[in-house]
Symmetry: C2
Subunit: 465 residues, 2 copies
C-alpha cells in the first residue's frame, strides 16, 4: 500500500504505530503519544548535540510577541501577517497591546540580543532554541507536515561582524544539517529558493528538500542569510576594532516536526515503521518463545539476556501472556523496532539466540557469547542499508529534463533555467509544479528551458507539500 | 546581603549568574539564558527519570484549548477564568471559537483520554507532560516565582478504577516529590490545603511548601485528588470486571519553574549560586595557574586532567588569557560550580591538584592518582552538607505556637486549628498570614487557637509568596 497510496499509508501508520492521536478537536493540532514522542525526543537530542558541538548555546525566549515588535521589520510581518494568531484578551479584559503567538522568533529574540552585543568581542554569537510556534494555516493541514501548532521548532540565530562571516555561517549551517540528515539516513537536495519564495526579511534562503514516496518534495530545513535586514530595524550594533560602529550580519536556520514525518515516510514499509537504532524508543525487543514444559528456563534465560543487553542498549522484553509470539512479532514489526531477539528452548539448548532484523526481515542465529559484538555490527549494517536504499529511491525520482514537454509531475525535474523571475513564474503556471530553486551543488551548460538564454544554472521543479 | 535583603539578592543573582534575562518587554515573561537553561534542563531530567521509574509515560498535548472544553467543568473554569489568555484572531479574521492558552491541561487532555480508556484493563493510566502554560497574573510578577508564561510546567495526570486507587496514587505522588526534592536537597513540609484554597475542581489538594530565606513559604508542588469531578463532565468511563460501567477516578500533580527558584534561593550564599553536582551545568571547573616560566607544563598537565575527568564528569577548563586566576575564582564561585581544580607548577611538582569546594570554601590537596575516587566521595559530601544545612535553616524557621498573640510573621507557625473554614479565615484576617493547611505528617492534642475546640490537627500558617 505504501507505494500505491502513500497518503493513506501515512495516516494509518501515524495512528497504528501510536505516533500521534489526530482526534484533537481543533484543526491542525495533534497529540504526541508516548511512542511517537520518544522518537521525536531522540531526534531532538541528535540535533542538539550537533549544534552544541558547533558552538551553539541553547536559550528559551517567550512565546508571546508584542505587536509593535512583530511589526518592526516590514517584509517579515508582510510574510507572516495572515498566519499570526493574536492574543487579545486576558481574562475578560482587552489587552492594551495585542500579543502574537510566535510564528518564528526573530522579533522576540533580536531586541534582546541588541542588549547583549556591544563589541566585536561578543561576536560571533550562536544561539538556538527548541519551541512550539504557531501558524494560522488556511491550507489543508497534515500531521507533522502542515500544522497550526508546530510543536518541535528548532531555530538557530547567529550574529556576525561581516557579511563574509555570515556567508561562512550559512556554509556551517549546511554542514550541520547534512550531518543531521545523514545521521537520520534522510536523503536531501539543497536548493536556493527563488526570490519570491524566500523567508520574509531574508537576503536569500537555502532549503533542504527531501522526496516523499509519492514523488512530492518536502522542505525539511531552511537556512536564511538575513544580512543587516533585521539588525538595522532592531538596532543590533557592535563596536569594531577601529572604534567605529556597524550593525551585525545575521543568519538563522530551522527544522521542525517534518523531520519526524520524513523518518516515518522514508524508511517505513508496507508492514509499518522501520526505525534506525539511534532514534528507536527501544533498539531491541526480546520475545521469549514459551512452551508449557520449558517456560521456566526460557523466561530465566530471557531475563538474563535482557539484563545483560540493557547495560548497553534500550531493550524491551515482551512478557505479555495473552499474546502469541506471532502477534508480538507483528506488533513490534509495525512499531519498527530494529532488532527482535527470539529465545526458545531450542536456542537455549544450542546456546544461541535468534535475531530478526526489521529492515531486511532476515533471521540469524547468533552465539550467546558474541551477541553484543554482533549487534554493534548489525546496527551499523542496518543504518548503511537504510541509508543506501533511501538514497537509491530518492535518486530514481530525479530526472534530467531538457524540454518543457518532457517534464514529469511525479518526479523532481532538473532543468536549465536562466534565473529570471519571469521564466520561473511562467514555468510554475505552465506545469502546476513548484520551482524549488537553484541546485547549489550542480551546474551544467545548456539553455534556459523557457527563454532559451544560455546558462549553466540547474533548477529543480516538482510537486511539493 | 542574602539574609538582610533576600529579594535584592535574588534579583541580582538571577542576573549575575546568567539564569534569566529579565528585560523582555512584556510583564511576567523572561528569557532563559544558556547557563540557567542547563540547570533547568538537568532538573527536568531528574523528575522525568523518577516519573518514568514510577510508570508514567510522556505525552504532549496542544497549547490551545477551545472555549467549550475549558468551560466544561464549572468549578475549574471559575478558578481560572480571570487568568486565561484568549486567542481571538487568526490573521485579521475573528476565530469562530475562542482558544485559551492552557493555564493547565486538564481540559485539553481529558476529552482525548476519554477515547483511550475503554475497560478496567486500560487502568491505571499515568501520563505526564512538560510544557509552557499561561496565567494572566495581575499580581506582582517575579522571575521563576510568579510568571505569565510558566515555561516549565510538569503536569502528571492519572486515571484509576476506584477511589482507593486514586488515594494510593496521591501517596505515590507524595513519594515521587519527596524523592525529587530530596535529590535537590530542598526541604519541604506537606500541607493539605484548606478547602477555599484547593485546585479548582479538585476534591482536595496536597501541597509541598518550602521556606525561603526571607521566611516566606513557596508552594513548590501540588497534588490533587480529582475524584470523579472531571471524569463525569468529560465522560471518561470504563467497563468494570462485572460488565457495568463507572467513571474513572483521577489525580493530577505538578511542579514548575519554582523548583529552579528554590534551588537558587535555598542553597545560594552571599557569593552567589551554590549548585549541587547533579544539576550544575559543569560539575568541575579547572583553572590552570599560569606563570611565564611554567606555562607550557601547566597547560599540558591541565589539559591531561581535563581530558581524564571529562570521561566521567561535566568539566570546563577556563583557558581565558585576559583574566587572572583570582577573577576566574570569583566568577565560577558566583556561578556556583561545586568544585574547582587549581593546577599550578607547585602542584605538578608534588604530583597533586588543589581542589576547592564551593559549599564550604575549603581547599584540599589531592594526589593525582586518586582524584576520581576523591571527587566521587566529595560529591556525596557536598550533597549531604547542602542538604543538612538547608534542613537546619528550614527547621529554625518553624515555630510551635499556642496563642494568637505569639504568632510570628517571619516564621511558619504550627498551631492547633479545628479545621472549620470560619476559624481559618478568622486567623488569616487577624494575622495577615496565609493558612497553608493541615500538616499531613503531624498531629498533637490541643485546642483550636481560635475557637478553643479540642483537636489534634496541626495547621501551618505563614507569610507566603
Amino acid at each position: 500500500m505504501k507505494d500505491n497510496n502513500f497518503s493513506e499509508w501515512y495516516n494509518e501508520i501515524i495512528e497504528k504505530a501510536e505516533i500521534l492521536d489526530v482526534r484533537y478537536p481543533v484543526k491542525g493540532l495533534y497529540i504526541w503519544l508516548p511512542y511517537g514522542l520518544r522518537i521525536r525526543n531522540n531526534i531532538i537530542s541528535i540535533i542538539k548535540q550537533i549544534l552544541e558541538a558547533h558552538g551553539h548555546e541553547e536559550v528559551l525566549f517567550p512565546l508571546l510577541i508584542p505587536e509593535n515588535l512583530l511589526r518592526k521589520e516590514s517584509e517579515h510581518i508582510k510574510g507572516f501577517e495572515e498566519q499570526v494568531y493574536w492574543v487579545t484578551k486576558g481574562g475578560d479584559k482587552e489587552l492594551n497591546v495585542k500579543l502574537a503567538l510566535r510564528p518564528t522568533s526573530e522579533t522576540a529574540i533580536y531586541p534582546i540580543v541588541a542588549l547583549w552585543i556591544k563589541s566585536h568581542k561578543d561576536l560571533p554569537l550562536k544561539i538556538y532554541q527548541v519551541v512550539n510556534v504557531f501558524r494560522y494555516e488556511t491550507k489543508h493541514t497534515r500531521p507533522l507536515i502542515r500544522l497550526r501548532e508546530i510543536t518541535t521548532f528548532k531555530e538557530a540565530h547567529t550574529f556576525h561582524k561581516s557579511m563574509e562571516e555570515a556567508e561562512e555561517q550559512v556554509k556551517e549551517a549546511i554542514e550541520i544539517y547534512k550531518k543531521f540528515f545523514d545521521k537520520l539516513a534522510i536523503p536531501y537536495m539543497i536548493n536556493r529558493r527563488p526570490d519570491w519564495d524566500k523567508f520574509p526579511g531574508a537576503l536569500y534562503t537555502i532549503a533542504f528538500d527531501t522526496i516523499f514516496p509519492d514523488g512530492r518534495t518536502l522542505q525539511i530545513a531552511t537556512i536564511h542569510n538575513l544580512g543587516q535586514n533585521f539588525s538595522k530595524p532592531f538596532d543590533i550594533k557592535f563596536e569594531k576594532i577601529d572604534g567605529s560602529f556597524d550593525h551585525v550580519y545575521q543568519t538563522c536556520y530551522g527544522i521542525s516536526d517534518r523531520v519526524v514525518a520524513s523518518v516515518i515516510a522514508i524508511h517505513g514499509d508496507k508492514d509499518g515503521l522501520v526505525l534506525l537504532p539511534d532514534i528507536s524508543p527501544y533498539q531491541i525487543v526480546i520475545v521469549p518463545i514459551i512452551y508449557k514444559d520449558s517456560k521456566k528456563i526460557v523466561l530465566e534465560n530471557s531475563m538474563e539476556i535482557y539484563k545483560r543487553l540493557s547495560k548497553k542498549y534500550r531493550v524491551y522484553i515482551d512478557l505479555r501472556e495473552d499474546e502469541t509470539p506471532g502477534s508480538k512479532f507483528y506488533y513490534w514489526e509495525m512499531k519498527g523496532i530494529p532488532l527482535r531477539i527470539e529465545i526458545g528452548p531450542k536456542d537455549i539448548k544450542e546456546n544461541v539466540v535468534t535475531i530478526f532484523r526489521r529492515d531486511t526481515k532476515e533471521r540469524l542465529k547468533v552465539e550467546n557469547d558474541s551477541i553484543e559484538k554482533f549487534i554493534n555490527d548489525l546496527f551499523n549494517d542496518i543504518y548503511n542499508n537504510l541509508r543506501s536504499k533511501a538514497w537509491k529511491r530518492f535518486e530514481e525520482k530525479i530526472v534530467r529534463i531538457y524540454s518543457l514537454n518532457d517534464i514529469k509531475s511525479g518526479c523532481v525535474n532538473e532543468i536549465n533555467l536562466c534565473g529570471k523571475d519571469s521564466c520561473g513564474k511562467y514555468l510554475e503556471d505552465k506545469t502546476g509544479l513548484r520551482v524549488l530553486g537553484e541546485a547549489i551543488d550542480k551546474k551544467e551548460h545548456g539553455s534556459c528551458i523557457v527563454c532559451k538564454e544560455l546558462t549553466d544554472k540547474i533548477y529543480r521543479i516538482a510537486k511539493s507539500y
